[in-house]
């Protein structure tokens, strides 16, 4: 970083972007409009950057290009009908979204999914965590200029998506779970498929690490870039791997276990510096841990029913509920208010991507243009979830 560079303007408040006809830019400054069409803003994120040469003086996120009114739609669909809609929020981790929603509604209704359904849910959700992290890894590496990991990682993702497809017929927007449990039981070769995946996958993670972890360029591009300390994370409500990379061992699977996560042994990987490299390392470790959980779940798969008793006409009692799960990107919460009718009175989603994205501005100030894409990548946002 250039030490002689002019001090940054104070944080907070809108960015002082010049309106037409007024000039608030230094002669060396310029406004760069990054997105919504840009190769590495991961969808339709728009970041307005104020640059001094290559140095970012200030940045402003503009979101809403993918707003589909998911929450409002929820008020006009029955509880069952809304279930597929949540898949379309964070579309690379549709299974986790479904898990969060189904559990929230079950909590509202006061039912518990049968034991077998719970274990299958954990299994699929962890497979989904791996597939989500894999997409992140490939695209993040591509942002930093390494073009090969994305092809390796999609090779493994394909195996996971094949398992999803065999199970529920869909690869991306799976609609895998039903309120009260599962609609389908596992297919015959499921256990063999999952076991084979678990056997192969750790070696594949080693392969990614060979390409990246000790690579000098990768280290120079990620170590110390986009630092976010634990206090800032907590102040902004940042969760998930970004928070854990800052050294806070906060994982809802451990702190508020749901769906029987307390029965599995796994560790919560944490970082130290909260920089881009630590987020990378935390996510790679999480993939390995997920693999551990999957292996345990396959071994401990109980028999029995897969769907709890659910009334045909589903009318939860009057009341409200907040339930959150540890989605691949952080805390995914559903807040549902029921007036006793067929449809939720109000449905509110607490999306991890949206909350984590708020940390972007603080991280990119003072960084270089190349760091901006690395930092956006390291937060791991999905715009479908940010805008809903």
């Amino acid at each position: 970083m250039n030490k002689a560079a002019a001090p940054l303007p104070p944080e907070g408040g809108p960015m002082t972007a010049p309106r037409p006809g007024e000039s608030q830019l230094d002669s060396s400054e310029m406004i760069l409009n990054m997105g919504p069409q840009h190769p590495s803003t991961h969808g339709v994120l728009r970041v307005v950057l104020k640059l001094d040469g290559e140095r970012v003086v200030d940045a402003e996120c503009v979101i809403g290009y993918l707003h589909r009114g998911v929450e409002k739609i929820g008020e006009h669909r029955t509880y069952m009908q809304f279930n597929p809609y949540v898949d379309r929020m964070d579309y690379v981790s549709a299974v986790s979204n479904g898990l969060g929603y189904c559990e929230a509604v079950e909590k509202l209704q006061g039912v518990v999914a049968p034991a077998r359904a719970q274990v299958v849910r954990v299994l699929l959700a962890e497979l989904n965590r791996i597939s989500s992290h894999i997409v992140w890894l490939g695209t993040h590496a591509l942002d930093i200029g390494a073009m090969t990991p994305v092809f390796y990682s999609f090779r493994e993702r394909e195996e996971i998506l094949k398992i999803f497809e065999k199970y529920c017929g869909a690869r991306l927007t799976t609609h895998a779970f039903r309120i009260g449990g599962l609609q389908w039981d596992l297919y015959d070769d499921f256990e063999a498929d999952v076991r084979r995946f678990c056997r192969n996958f750790p070696a594949r993670v080693d392969e990614y690490e060979t390409l990246l972890t000790e690579n000098r360029i990768w280290r120079q591009r990620t170590v110390g870039v986009g630092k976010l300390d634990a206090a800032t994370c907590k102040a902004l409500g940042v969760t998930g791997p970004v928070l854990r990379a800052a050294g806070v061992a906060w994982d809802l699977r451990k702190t508020q276990p749901y769906s029987g996560y307390e029965n599995f042994s796994f560790e919560i990987p944490v970082g130290e510096n909260g920089d881009t490299f630590d987020r990378y390392r935390v996510r790679l470790q999480e993939m390995r841990q997920s693999c551990r959980i999957i292996a345990q779940a396959v071994d401990a798969l109980p028999g029995g029913p897969i769907l709890a008793k659910i009334p045909k006409v589903f009318k939860p009692p009057v009341g409200e509920v907040y339930h959150s799960i540890e989605a691949p990107k952080g805390e995914l919460g559903f807040y549902i208010v029921s007036d006793g009718g067929l449809q939720p009175y109000r449905l509110r989603v607490r999306p991890p991507s949206f909350v984590n994205l708020q940390a972007l501005r603080g991280m990119v100030r003072g960084a270089l243009v190349a760091d901006v894409v690395a930092i956006i990548g390291s937060i791991d946002i999905v715009l479908g979830e940010v805008d809903r």
Binding site: N33, M147, A370
Partner: protein, 408 residues
């Protein structure tokens, strides 16, 4: 004094390159041959880069247009030619038009001083290497013009990066080249190779550090990964040629690939003995004859690969055209291979073959880097250039100048 001017590669021996002999007719023929050769090289490179990258990334690469995607470069060239010619609003039209032309001209014209053999050069300038470096560095002018004239932010940033990067790395290139000149005592490209032949040692073994510096700096000079800052796709969309499309864009690509071949050709001439074959000091025991069959053998190998692939294609009717095409291509390679076994052709093709092969190895490395490395950040790139490469080059220069007092 050129004697009878019979065009290469069929003809007799010339005493010196046609440019020096004053034979303008033959020099023009050489220029056309080089132009065609470079264009063909770019086409091959285009296909090879996709295929090699694809296979490194566990995928197939182009497979649909022609057998194993062999016609993909042709299809792409057609597509680019047929595209609408867009000039952005507010662009400086003249400069916008000029920029890709400058890039291509710079890359191509520097080849006139590159010797593919003792006489297989357009001209052997007595300031050869200086001429090549000077013309090659004009390419950055085209890039800066492109970035400036596009009237857009991303190209402007790309052009600024490019300017800073090329100026920095040319210092290293210059210092590395000077270290070579200490040993050769001449600036002439033919002279540099001749001095390596006379001293029975490629300069790679006398100036390994300078070669390493050049090998790094030449990647930066051609804007290739991991130094592809000016066109960093994930940051600057497409860098300096963001606003270019169609034919103008293809000119930039042509210039980039020709530039890669040019810097590789310089490296081969300066450090790897130019047109000489590997182990040039071994002559006895039929080694000469053995090496003279390598060009033919390599073409026959390629032909064998093509024919094998043709035979391995599925028997379905749908593949008939593809199989026929691949058989024809294999036949062409086979014919070339057999033609290369004819004694006169064998003798004539040696120099050019070895030169092109060495350049091709460099091209493979360029592709390999691209598949392996992440991209350096702008400030890191300049830091490497100024804090590591330039001091090392200076130290190396001092050291080899001192050493050459005792070790001629």
């Amino acid at each position: 004094m050129s004697g009878v001017a019979i065009p290469w590669p069929v003809g007799g021996r010339l005493a010196q390159p046609p440019g020096n002999a004053g034979n303008f007719m033959l020099a023009t023929v050489y220029i056309l041959l080089i132009f065609l050769g470079i264009s063909l090289g770019v086409i091959i490179m285009n296909w090879a880069e996709r295929k090699v990258l694809a296979h490194m990334q566990v995928r197939l690469g182009p497979m649909r247009v022609g057998p194993h995607g062999l016609l993909q470069p042709v299809a792409d060239a057609l597509k680019l030619l047929l595209k609408e010619d867009l000039v952005p609003q507010g662009a400086d039209r003249l400069v916008f038009w000029l920029a890709p032309v400058v890039v291509v001209m710079a890359a191509f014209s520097a080849f006139t001083a590159i010797p593919f053999g003792p006489t297989a050069a357009v001209s052997d300038l007595n300031i050869g290497i200086v001429f090549v470096l000077a013309i090659a560095s004009l390419g950055v002018l085209g890039i800066i013009l492109a970035g400036w004239s596009s009237n857009s932010h991303y190209p402007l940033l790309g052009a600024l990066r490019s300017g800073a990067q090329m100026v920095s790395y040319e210092v290293t290139i210059g210092l590395a080249v000077v270290a070579v000149l200490l040993h050769t005592g001449t600036l002439s490209m033919v002279g540099i190779v001749r001095s390596q032949i006379e001293s029975h040692r490629w300069l790679l073994f006398r100036e390994p550090v300078a070669f390493g510096l050049f090998a790094v700096a030449m990647v930066a000079e051609t804007n290739r990964s991991p130094f592809d800052r000016p066109e960093a796709e994930s940051e600057l969309v497409a860098g300096y040629h963001t606003e270019y499309s169609g034919f103008r864009w293809s000119l930039f690509m042509l210039g980039e690939y020709a530039g890669m071949m040019l810097v590789s050709a310089v490296a081969v001439t300066l450090w790897l003995g130019g047109w000489t074959r590997p182990f040039p000091n071994l002559h006895g025991g039929g080694v000469d004859v053995l090496f003279s069959f390598v060009p033919a053998a390599s073409f026959l190998l390629l032909a064998g690969l093509a024919l094998r692939a043709a035979l391995k294609m599925p028997g379905h009717r749908r593949w008939r055209a593809q199989r026929g095409g691949l058989l024809a291509f294999g036949g062409l390679l086979l014919g070339l291979g057999l033609w290369l076994t004819v004694p006169t052709v064998r003798a004539q093709s040696q120099n050019v073959f070895w030169f092109v092969l060495k350049v091709a190895v460099f091209q493979y490395f360029f592709i390999w880097y691209r598949a392996t490395f992440p991209r350096y950040r702008y400030d890191q790139l300049l830091r490497i250039g100024w804090r590591i490469l330039v001091p090392t080059a200076l130290a190396n220069l001092l050291l080899s100048a001192t050493l050459s007092l005792w070790l001629p």
